[in-house]
């Protein structure tokens, strides 16, 4: 009888995994022992599992089920060989049997874990035929043992699968597996929620199909490259735009990794995070920074404008004071003819008036801006205002020609005649001042029945587009090389805007550098009730 050394540790491990030691009888094994008893014609048949020091009778026919100590038993001897084992003796064994035939049972890995045996309390011989039958029956029993092992594996696999699935479904990120063909093989619950599509619409498609058109090409390329050769530590990170099932676009970041799953099959795993919140926060931050930057720039501009205004006003005041101080000094120090004295006095008087005008302009603007000035409403014929202002300026210049194009049927408007005269004067004064080479100045009036529009067009230096908005701001006199010689307080246009806006109207400028400017204001015919 050949005895094969047994890997006892491995054998016991397999036996434990089968979870049959100490287990209740099962029909699938009882069927085999019943068959064995009948076919072999023995009073008893047993399927036993051999543990460390005990033998567990898993299935018993013709015998009371009981626990048997292992050492020295026929079971132990039968377990020691792959071949059938038979014994007959006049002394009964621990089960009261004189004849024993057994065949060891191996589980699928090859470890012998038990014995199928038939027994008889009487002496009898087991022939070759009997043992062959026993081998056949043992083969059936081994298949059943194999099934136990398979069920065990299946349970284990199911456990792993459930565990893996619940991990996948409980992470916040979308987990997408991609097969060899670049198609989505699985997607977790977070992914379904993120893409706002049922899993069925996603599985079998490619990841780029659910990205914005501009991001599809690159992602497709990345997937293909890495499916072909997933490096051990490869990981790609991209921020792209995804398209949800409802058509909405949202920013995501994708981390893509891959691995070989068999020798020639690879799999990629994409972790996709919706970064809408982060992007929004970033955008808010950028927004806040830009706002702050603009506020700083505004402050800077205002502060520069103010210091410029101070030097400008200083210049204007000193110019006026030069005449006053100089002529009065002359009068005090020297004797002049009566005519000369009168002339000097007139100069002093005029310069004094000039100072007064500058001061009142500043105060007017201040009053209007702080809302402390009221308009003195009356009926105003803007054609007359334009004509009077034009006459006054025409009398003082020979280099400029005022051309009037007035709407004959212009309705009178409700407004403050003095203030509107100031508006036209300031605009015309600018037109003349900023066309140093002279030329025509066109003054037009029109109406659309709701408001009256007056425009003044010169052929002067003109203003660049970026200056058109700021030119009405206080102190914001536009500076350029060709203008540096032209002085002014920078208060004229802010005052114009204040007055026009107090009338419920608006004022704007159009200009072409080098060709000239048109300043236009429109005021409603009827003052609004507001």
């Amino acid at each position: 009888m050949s005895r094969v050394p047994i890997d006892e540790a491995g054998r016991l491990e397999s036996l434990n995994r089968l979870e049959l030691l100490g287990s209740a009888p099962e029909e699938r094994f009882d069927r085999i022992t019943r068959l064995a008893r009948r076919l072999m014609g023995t009073p008893a048949a047993v399927m036993a599992l051999v543990g460390v020091d005990r033998v567990w009778l898993k299935s018993v026919q013709g015998l009371a089920p009981r626990d048997v100590l292992r050492p020295g038993t026929h079971f132990e001897r039968a377990l020691g060989t792959r071949r059938p084992y038979a014994h007959s003796g006049s002394e009964p064994d621990e089960l009261g049997m004189r004849s024993f035939a057994g065949k060891s049972l191996a589980e699928p890995a090859g470890h012998r874990v038990g014995v199928l045996a038939v027994m008889d309390p009487q002496l009898r011989e087991f022939g070759e035929d009997d043992l062959e039958l026993l081998v056949d029956l043992a083969a059936v029993a081994e298949r059943e043992l194999g099934r136990s092992a398979f069920d065990q594996l299946l349970d284990e696999y199911r456990g792993h699968a459930t565990w893996a699935q619940s991990v996948m479904d409980n992470v916040a990120e979308a987990l997408v597996t991609i097969d060899q063909d670049g198609r989505i093989r699985s997607i977790n619950r977070a992914g379904v929620r993120m893409f706002r599509r049922p899993a069925g619409e996603l599985v079998g498609q490619t990841v780029p199909q659910f990205l914005a058109p501009e991001d599809q090409g690159e992602m497709d390329r990345i997937v293909r490259t890495h499916l072909a050769a997933p490096a051990e530590s490869f990981s790609v990170h991209r921020e792209v735009a995804a398209i949800g099932g409802d058509g909405t676009r949202f920013p995501v970041e994708i981390d893509l990794g891959g691995t070989w799953i068999t020798e020639d099959e690879t799999m990629l795993v994409a972790v996709i995070r919706d970064i809408t919140e982060r992007k929004n926060a970033e955008a808010r931050l950028v927004d806040a920074l830009e706002k702050q930057q603009r506020a700083i720039e505004d402050l800077d501009r205002i502060s520069k404008a103010k210091s410029y205004f101070v030097s400008l006003v200083g210049h204007e005041f000193r110019t006026a004071l030069t005449g006053i101080q100089g002529f009065s000094e002359l009068l005090a120090e020297q004797d002049f003819s009566d005519a000369e004295v009168k002339e000097f006095a007139r100069e002093i008087h005029n310069e004094g008036k000039r100072l007064t005008r500058m001061i009142s302009e500043m105060l007017d603007l201040e009053r209007m801006e702080s809302g402390r000035m009221q308009l003195n409403y009356g009926s105003v014929d803007l054609n007359r205002v334009v004509a009077e202002v034009a006459d006054r300026f025409q009398a003082a210049t020979q280099s400029h020609w005022m051309l009037l194009e007035l709407e004959p049927e212009l309705p009178a408007i409700e407004g403050d005649a003095d203030k509107l005269t100031q508006v036209v004067s300031n605009l015309l004064s600018n037109a003349i001042k900023y066309s140093p080479n002279g030329g025509d100045v066109l003054m037009k009036s029109i109406t659309d029945g709701a408001e009256v529009t007056v425009s003044i067009t010169d052929h002067g230096l003109g203003l660049p587009a970026e200056a058109l908005d700021t030119v009405f701001e206080r102190y914001a006199r536009h500076e350029s090389k060709d203008r540096e010689s032209i002085t002014g307080t920078g208060l004229g246009l802010p005052l114009v805007r204040q007055i026009v806006e107090m009338h419920g109207g608006r004022v704007w400028a159009e200009s072409v550098v080098g060709k000239g400017s048109t300043f236009t204001f429109a005021v409603p015919i009827h003052r609004s009730s507001a």
Binding site: T319, T322, G323, L330, F344, E347, P436, E484, S485, I486
Partner: protein, 126 residues
């Protein structure tokens, strides 16, 4: 011999004042409105001194100074700039342009007299 002084200023009142000032001080004043007219005046007759406002249309005082300095015949003519600007660093600007002196507006008769006498003396000797 009465010194001839060209005065350029765009403000009519100041032109008037300067012509009276110069007459009172005993000089012959040639009064013009801007730098371009000043260049025309010096081309006609080389003056003993030029007084120019800094900010003027067409051609300002600094550019006028540069142009005058470029002309070898006029290089010795003293130039006095005057301005109502109160900004700092004015001095370096007029010195850089090549002017010989600067007075702030409003000038008093005595300051002007002193300045002119000294500059005319320097101009003749230099």
């Amino acid at each position: 011999m009465t010194a001839t002084i060209v005065v350029a200023d765009d403000d009519a009142t100041i032109r008037h004042l300067m012509s009276v000032f110069l007459k009172t001080l005993g000089y012959r004043g040639v009064v013009v409105e801007d730098g371009v007219q000043a260049l025309a005046a010096v081309a006609e007759e080389i003056p003993d001194l030029v007084i120019s406002d800094v900010h003027m249309p067409n051609l300002g005082g600094l550019e006028l100074t540069r142009r005058l300095r470029e002309d070898p015949r006029l290089a010795r003519v003293p130039i006095l700039l005057f301005s109502a600007s109160v900004s700092q660093g004015e001095e370096t600007v007029w010195q850089g342009a090549g002017a010989d002196g600067f007075i702030a507006k409003p000038p008093t008769l005595s300051v002007l007299r002193e300045k002119l006498v000294r500059m005319l003396a320097d101009g003749r000797s230099g």
